[in-house]
Amino acid sequence: MIDKTVATAADAVAQIYDGATVMIGGFGTAGQPAELIDALIAKGARELTIVNNNAGNGDTGLAALLKARRVKKIICSFPRQADSYEFDALYRAGEIELELVPQGNLACRIQAAGSGLGAVFTPTGYGTLLAEGKETREINGKHYVLEYPISADFALIKAQQGDRWGNLVYRKTARNFGPIMAAAAKVTIAQVSEIVSLGALDPEHVVTPGIFVQQLVAV
């Protein structure tokens, strides 16, 4: 019998090692897997590269991971916000590296990794600072920038329900990066509000098929 569920968030993150690249789902705090991040802080892995849309809000979740100084580099689209003071302080002190990526390029680079593509030509960013030094090409009269996939060792995501095979459904706009990060990481760990019995999820409504999920934990 295959059962991908683990008992605790601590068990789920136990394998995350120093220097790992970790995708973390969420748009702001919607969809942020807060309990998995708390467990990662307790686990103590350092020198992490984090992929997220933002760079932490307030004092909890990703912001707390930054404050604990576990993050060497962050790849994101929108770090600066009204409540991103933990990131702002580290950035101004030169203690964190930032790779700023337009949001759609972040999404398609993550999808490229999950899909096994070598790179993508994207129109976004052409002619701007964020494309400086990058290869470009004109295709059918439009200009594109070559962007490489973003893959990860681990993805930490949040879903609403999951079953022991790892099939997931999400809740409202908390879905955001979860499905595409799940496909792009070697090991995807999902925290869910509820683990349901196999067959309880309507197969027509499964959003992330279990093949993309290695572990799940109810929190």
């Binding site: 748009f27 702001g28 705090t29 919607a30 969809g31 849309n53 689209s77 929108f78 770090p79 600066r80 916000q81 702002d88 950035y91 101004r92 700023l100 990526v101 337009p102 949001q103 759609g104 390029n105 972040l106 999404a107 398609c108 993550i110 999808q111 994207t122 129109p123 976004t124 960013g125 052409y126 002619g127 701007t128 600072l129 964020l130 200009h143 999400y170 809740r171 409202k172 706009t173 908390a174 879905r175 955001n176 990066f177 979860g178 499905p179 595409i180 959003v207």
Partner: protein, 218 residues
């Protein structure tokens, strides 16, 4: 001549008049978001928010906020009957694949050739953040910009060449300011409307690029 610039609400209402029923529309953060308040409730218009929803409704009643139902500005919103949720890959497929009919963005500067600068002042101590601005600017079928005609210091925001870092090249179709509605055309900037009381000369003096005027702009 004396004239009265449009208020923020008047400007939002003016843009709203140009959004036809059935359009798929993304309203950027800030002033563009306000346009939603002025859309004709008799028209079915699909509002898209890039964090993953179509059919976005107004803010919820106090007490009914759901932290997992937010818009791209991370404000609490609602979903209209018939609306739906999707992940970021699908959301940016809608944006970059030419499926969004109209996006409305704010601006630091707009150039005569339609270049847009709205994400970064270029200041050395600024922490850059871009979000979905570049994707919207490059991907929507029509890109509208709403902005004050000049900066708080009185400097033109419509210029020959942007001095701020670009968001996208040649992307703007129409500019709605508190003084005028201006189309960006291959022949240059074409003023379609001006507020009552302003002259062509006054508007030109507040603009950093050459304007052409439609016949009805006297």
């Amino acid at each position: 001549m004396t004239y009265q610039p449009l208020s923020r609400d008047q400007l939002a209402a003016r843009v709203a008049r140009d959004i036809p029923e059935g359009s798929y529309v993304n309203l950027g953060i800030g002033l563009p978001t306000r346009i939603a308040n002025f859309l004709d409730p008799e028209k079915e218009i699909f509002l898209h928010s890039e964090n993953g929803l179509l059919g976005m409704g107004p803010a919820p009643a106090p007490g009914a906020e759901d932290p997992e139902l937010i818009n791209a500005g991370k404000e609490f919103v609602t979903l209209l009957t018939g609306g739906c949720y999707f992940h970021h890959g699908d959301s940016f497929t809608m944006m970059r694949g030419g499926h969004i009919d109209i996006c409305v963005l704010g601006a630091f500067q707009i150039a005569a050739n339609g270049d847009l600068a709205n994400w970064h002042t270029g200041a050395a101590d600024a922490i850059p953040a871009v979000g979905g601005a570049m994707d919207l600017a490059v991907g929507a079928r029509k890109v509208f910009v709403t902005t004050d005609h000049v900066t708080k210091k009185g400097e033109p925001k419509i210029v020959e060449r942007c001095s701020y870092p670009l968001t996208s090249v040649g992307c703007v179709d129409r500019i709605y300011t508190d003084l005028a509605v201006i189309d960006v055309t291959p022949q240059g900037l074409q003023v379609q409307e001006m507020v009552v009381g302003i002259t062509r000369e006054q508007l030109q003096a507040l603009t950093g690029a050459t304007l052409q005027f439609s016949a009805n702009c006297q």
